[in-house]
Symmetry: C2
Subunit: 284 residues, 2 copies
C-alpha cells in the first residue's frame, strides 16, 4: 500500500487541514516523533490507525529536551526516509515544523511537571522532561488531536504526558504503545545506530537483566537483592548503570519488594557513548 | 438593564455552553477576574462587550499566585455581589470554578514565562507570574475565547500573558483595558478596601508621583533624577517603595532617559499593610 502523504511545516496549513477534518467529523490521532523512524514508531502509527480515522505524525527534533553536551547535533535526521516508511503504513499527514515555528524569536514559556518527572531519567537529564512537556503541549495545541500515542519505551515520559494532559484538561486520550524489540530483545531506539559492533552485541543484556530481575521479584526476592545480581553481570559487560528501579506503575514511587500492585521495572545505562533505557511491566 | 446571568462552576457545563455558542458562530470574549469586582473590572467587561457577542467573566481567586504570607485567606470574596454587578452590564456567563476544578488532586504542571516576568513585581513576588501563567493558560483552554481582556493596571501581567499566548500559539486576541481611577486619581483595586482611612487619603500620591515624574521625563530629565524627587515625597507620606521604574513599553527593559520610544512608568509600594501598584504610559 502506498498513499499520498501530505507534509506540512506551517501551523496555518496544519490548522486549515485540521479544520476540514473536524468539519467532516474525523477522529484525529497524533503520533509525536523526533524522526529517525524505526519499527517502534511505526507500531505507534499502526496503533493510532486502529483508533482514529486520520493520523498525523509529527517529526521534530526538539532542542529543548537535549541538555548541553548531549547529542542534539548528531541526532539522526532523515525526513525523506521517514516519509517513505510512513507512506507504506497509512499515515495521513506529516507535520514537520522547523525550530522557528515551534520556538519563535523571544520564546520564553516553559512548562514543567513536577513529581513524576523528578526521579529516574529526571535525575541525570534535569531539563529533559521540561523540554518534553513544553513541546508536547505545543504539538497537542497545534494538532488538537482526539488521541495521542506515545511509546512505553519512554515510560516515564508517557506518565509525565498523562499528568500534563490531565492537569491542563487537554481533550485528548493518551495511548501508550508497547515496546518493539529486535529479535535478540534489544528495545528499538533511534540511538541504537550509535552503538559500536561490540556494544551492539552486549546491548540485549539490558533486556535480559529486566527479565531475570522480574522473575526473581515475582518469587518474592526484594528489589535490592534481585537487582544487585543482575547489575553485576551488566557492569562486567561494560554497562555504566544510571538507575535500575522498581516503581509503582502509575506514580513511579519506588517499591522495595513486589507485592502484587502493578509495578514497572525501569533501567537506564550508558554503553560506550550511548545511553540506553528499557523497562518492563511487573504483574504477578 | 438586567439580563439572565448563567453561573457555571463545572468545566463540562462550560464546554457544553461554549460548543453551542461556537456552533452559532458567536465571538466569545473572556474577562478573567479574581472577583471582588469594581468599576475597573466592569470597564473590562464593557470593552469585551464591544468586541464580542458573548462575554464570559471568570471569577477565581487563584491560590497559586499568592506567596506564603500574602493575603490569600483575607482576599475579598463576594460572588453574590459580583453577580449583581455583572447582571447590569451584560455579561453572558460567569465561570466560577472551585479550586478542585482548576487544581485537582495531584496537579503538578507549572507554566512560567521567563524574561518579562523577572523584573518589577517578579522580584518581590517570585512565584506570582508562574501562578498567573498557569491559571490563565487553564482558563484560556477551558473557555477557548476569541478575545481575552486584561487590565493595564497589571501592566507586567498583561505583557506576560501576551508572551504566553504568542508562545503557545493560543488562538486568542489579548486586549488591554485602560486603568480606571477614583476621582482623586487612585487606581481602582480590590485591595483598596484594606487601606486605613489615613492611608486611603495618602494613596492617590502614588498616581500624582507618576504624573509629576512623567512631566519631568518628557522635559528630558533622566529617570533617576526625576524619580528621586517624587520618591522622597512618597516616603515622607509613609510609602515604602518596592520599585519605581521607567521601562520599554513592550519589553519592560529599563530605560534611563526617555527618548521618544514608547515607555511605561511603573510603581509599586507598600502603604501600611497594603501593596499598591500603578503605571502610566509615557509617550511624548
Amino acid at each position: 500500500m502506498s498513499t499520498d502523504l501530505n507534509t506540512i511545516s506551517k501551523l496555518a496549513d496544519l490548522q486549515s487541514q485540521r479544520s476540514k477534518w473536524r468539519h467532516n467529523n474525523q477522529i484525529i490521532a497524533l503520533v509525536p516523533t523526533m524522526g529517525a523512524l524505526h519499527e517502534g514508531h511505526l507500531s505507534l502509527v499502526k496503533l493510532a490507525r486502529t483508533a482514529a480515522s486520520k493520523v498525523i505524525v509529527s517529526v521534530f527534533v526538539n532542542p529543548k529536551q537535549f541538555t548541553q553536551g548531549e547529542d542534539l547535533d548528531q541526532y539522526p535526521r532523515d525526513l525523506a526516509a521517514d516519509l517513505d516508511k510512513l507512506k507504506t503504513i497509512g499515515a495521513d499527514l506529516v507535520y514537520a515544523p522547523d525550530v522557528e515555528q515551534i520556538y519563535p524569536k523571544g520564546f520564553s514559556t516553559h512548562i514543567s511537571v513536577t513529581g513524576i518527572s523528578e526521579g529516574l531519567c529526571g535525575v541525570s537529564r534535569p531539563h529533559f522532561f521540561d523540554g518534553v512537556a513544553t513541546v508536547v503541549t505545543k504539538l497537542l495545541l497545534h494538532c488538537a488531536p482526539d488521541i495521542a500515542v506515545f511509546g512505553e519505551k519512554d515510560y516515564q515520559q508517557l506518565l509525565v504526558i498523562r499528568r500534563l494532559v490531565a492537569d491542563l484538561d487537554l481533550p485528548v486520550d493518551v495511548l501508550g504503545g508497547p515496546i518493539v524489540r529486535e529479535s535478540d530483545g534489544l528495545a528499538l531506539s533511534s540511538r541504537n545506530v550509535y552503538l559500536s559492533k561490540t556494544d551492539r552485541q552486549s546491548a540485549p543484556l539490558l533486556w535480559k537483566a529486566l527479565i531475570e530481575t522480574r522473575a526473581q521479584l515475582l518469587q518474592g526476592v526484594p528489589m535490592q537483592q534481585a537487582a544487585s545480581q543482575t547489575s553485576e553481570q551488566l557492569i562486567k559487560a561494560g554497562f555504566i548503570l544510571d538507575y535500575f528501579e522498581l516503581c509503582d506503575a502509575r506514580t513511579l514511587a519506588p517499591i522495595h519488594q513486589y507485592e502484587g500492585k502493578p509495578a514497572r521495572l525501569l533501567i537506564a545505562s550508558m554503553l560506550g557513548r550511548t545511553r540506553l533505557i528499557d523497562n518492563i511491566s511487573v504483574i504477578g
